[in-house]
């Protein structure tokens, strides 16, 4: 029995010994395998990152901005009449496109759709015949029909050095982002687009060249941008009977010149918190309507009541110079408290100056109803701060006042009752922005405009004549086309952005 036990013990010990050796061998093998797998995983991750980067840069990046709004509009006319719309409902879709072809070249684009709900009463959703809702400068800002149009499309070349100097610069050509510029972007909670919105807020085809100067000058965050573009191309249509397609249109019944605009934006200081923005622009041969010899303008120089049915032809009335100076403070003080850190204030001053020209033989040179060069001024103040009643909400107040001959190019401003910035008079606006989710936000906005003079929303011809509102009474209002003296626009909108 003893022998059997001894033998069993020997076998058991030998087995344990063998097993121990076996386990060690297997552990070594496994460690080797794990190490190899780890290496493979690292390699695979690297490859995956490369594929991901390639894939991410291999297609246009789309973003969606879809807004549904209800506007309650009310207009008080000089005669005492009231025009209103209790619920103007619109859908606006903006499809953004971005693509970086290489380190130096980018493409940006935006497709736009903007339409009132359903069909319109005159069975013309586009409101363009008669009317100017599809005018190129504003075609994506007005409620028109259910077509998708190009709002922005441009390429941008970037380089970190300019002629060997440490001056980052960009060059860009196309349909530029000239709506929603600095100032007007706050009430929508948007990032600013290119222009300074106190003087320019219209769609435009053109080019820009920007040089960042802060590394070669002592001016912190300074940059200079040249902008130029064409607002109207004077050309005949394709397939002319005599074969002269796209030649300059010399017909005396139509506009006869191109409209070109050029200028610059100069930022002498921008430390991210305090910044100064300036702008100069000049546009030539701007269009408008003539009051003489027609039935669509009243003898007073203002729109007549039948203007909308005549669809008059534009004439070129002269040139316009615009300047802007704006100070923006993004955060008051430094770390005093979160509320002040998150508060934005801005003040902007702008001036317009006309240079009248004759638009035809026998026509006196005139612009905005005056034969002289007229200067207009405008002041715009705004503040936007956190709303204490809601998390992440923001409230804002803006006020602007324009003088008798003030004329901005802000026809594309996103206000249903007309551009508040163009007001020859006073405009007050209060708004509340509230993000609801990462993608959905709400905006409640109230805009009140009181006009001191007529012609604020008109073009540059006799239609833009500023008649003092105090001289227009219920008795003589018809002679002036019964203009709107004041308006209100209450908007509630929901916006999806992602």
């Amino acid at each position: 029995m003893k022998k059997i036990i001894a033998l069993s013990s020997i076998v058991a010990l030998a087995t344990v010994g063998f097993a121990s050796t076996n386990v060690e061998t297997r552990l070594d093998t496994m460690e080797n395998k794990i190490s190899k797998l780890e290496k493979k995983l690292i390699k695979a991750n690297k490859k995956l990152n490369k594929v991901k980067a390639h894939d991410a840069g291999d297609n246009i990046k789309w973003d969606v901005d879809f807004r549904t709004s209800v506007d309650r509009l009310s207009y008080d006319h000089a005669s005492g009449k009231e025009s209103k719309n209790g619920s103007l409902m619109t859908n606006r879709l903006l499809l953004g496109m971005k693509f970086q072809a290489d380190e130096n070249v980018l493409f940006y684009g935006t497709l736009g759709y903007n339409k009132a709900y359903g069909d319109t009463m005159n069975h013309s959703q586009s409101n363009t015949n008669p009317g100017y809702a599809n005018f190129d400068w504003v075609t994506n800002e007005n409620a028109t029909d259910n077509t998708v149009k190009v709002k922005e499309a441009y390429w941008m070349y970037m380089n970190n050095t300019f002629m060997g100097k440490d001056i980052p610069w960009t060059a860009s050509v196309g349909r530029r982002p000239s709506t929603g510029g600095l100032g007007i972007n706050f009430r929508e909670g948007d990032q600013r687009k290119s222009a300074l919105a106190h003087t320019v807020n219209i769609e435009f085809d053109g080019a820009s060249f920007k040089w960042t100067l802060d590394k070669v000058t002592p001016l912190v965050g300074s940059w200079f941008k040249l902008c130029m573009g064409r607002g109207l191309t004077n050309a005949t249509q394709r397939f002319q009977n005599d074969g002269s397609s796209y030649a300059n249109n010399t017909s005396t019944s139509s506009h006869q010149k191109n409209i070109d605009m050029k200028g610059f934006i100069f930022v002498p200081y921008d430390d991210g918190q305090y910044s100064i923005h300036t702008n100069y622009a000049t546009a030539n041969d701007l269009i408008g309507f003539a009051s003489n010899g027609t039935t669509y303008m009243s003898t007073s120089g203002n729109y007549d009541s039948n203007y909308q049915t005549i669809f008059p032809a534009f004439k070129s009335f002269g040139d316009l110079e615009l300047i802007t100076a704006m100070v923006k403070v993004d955060g008051i003080g430094d770390g005093i408290n979160d509320y002040l850190d998150e508060t934005i204030i801005f003040a902007s001053f702008a001036q317009s100056k006309t240079k009248p020209k004759s638009f035809g033989a026998g026509e006196t040179a005139r612009m905005l109803g005056s034969t002289k060069s007229e200067t207009g001024n405008s002041i715009w103040l705004g503040v936007q701060m956190p709303c204490l009643l809601s998390e992440d909400g923001r409230i804002g107040v803006e006020w602007n006042k324009g003088s008798k001959y003030w004329r901005s190019m802000t026809y594309g401003e996103d206000t249903m009752s007309g551009s508040k910035i163009a007001t020859r008079g006073t405009a007050l606006e209060v708004y509340w922005l509230k993000p609801l989710t990462k993608a959905l936000s709400m905006n409640v906005r109230y805009t009140k405009i009181d006009y001191d003079y007529t012609g604020s929303q008109a073009f540059f011809g006799d239609d833009g004549t500023p008649t003092d509102m105090s001289t227009i009474t219920a008795a003589n209002a018809a002679m002036y086309g019964d203009p709107v003296k004041s308006s209100t626009d209450m908007r509630v909108s929901m916006r999806y952005r992602f």
């Binding site: 991901k52 297609n59 990046k61 209800v70 971005k98 980018l106 993000p435 990462k438 409640v444 509630v492």
Partner: protein, 105 residues
Amino acid sequence: MKLLLKLMLVGAVALTIGTTTASANATKGQKLFVKKLKDSCGFTGAIMAGKHSQDEWEALNDDGKLEGEILKLCPKKGDVKDKFLPHYYDFFYKYANDSGNVPSC
């Protein structure tokens, strides 16, 4: 039709009460970068975000090393406030070198 406007307003207020948003966001991070870091870093936010892939930014954030990385890349900056870090992270992650996202001009 005034009713419609009122209903929309009531609905909007209800949504406002009933929803909450994530506290950090890339836009705020971008704005903060311009305001607080750009000078110290000496380059744009797009270049900063492009220093790492999304995975790398994620790892730095998860390991609590984001502040250290910012200070490494922008040595002139003395310190970074903790409350801004989630916004910076969202911005860097969104525009990381493998994100395919193109920053605004």
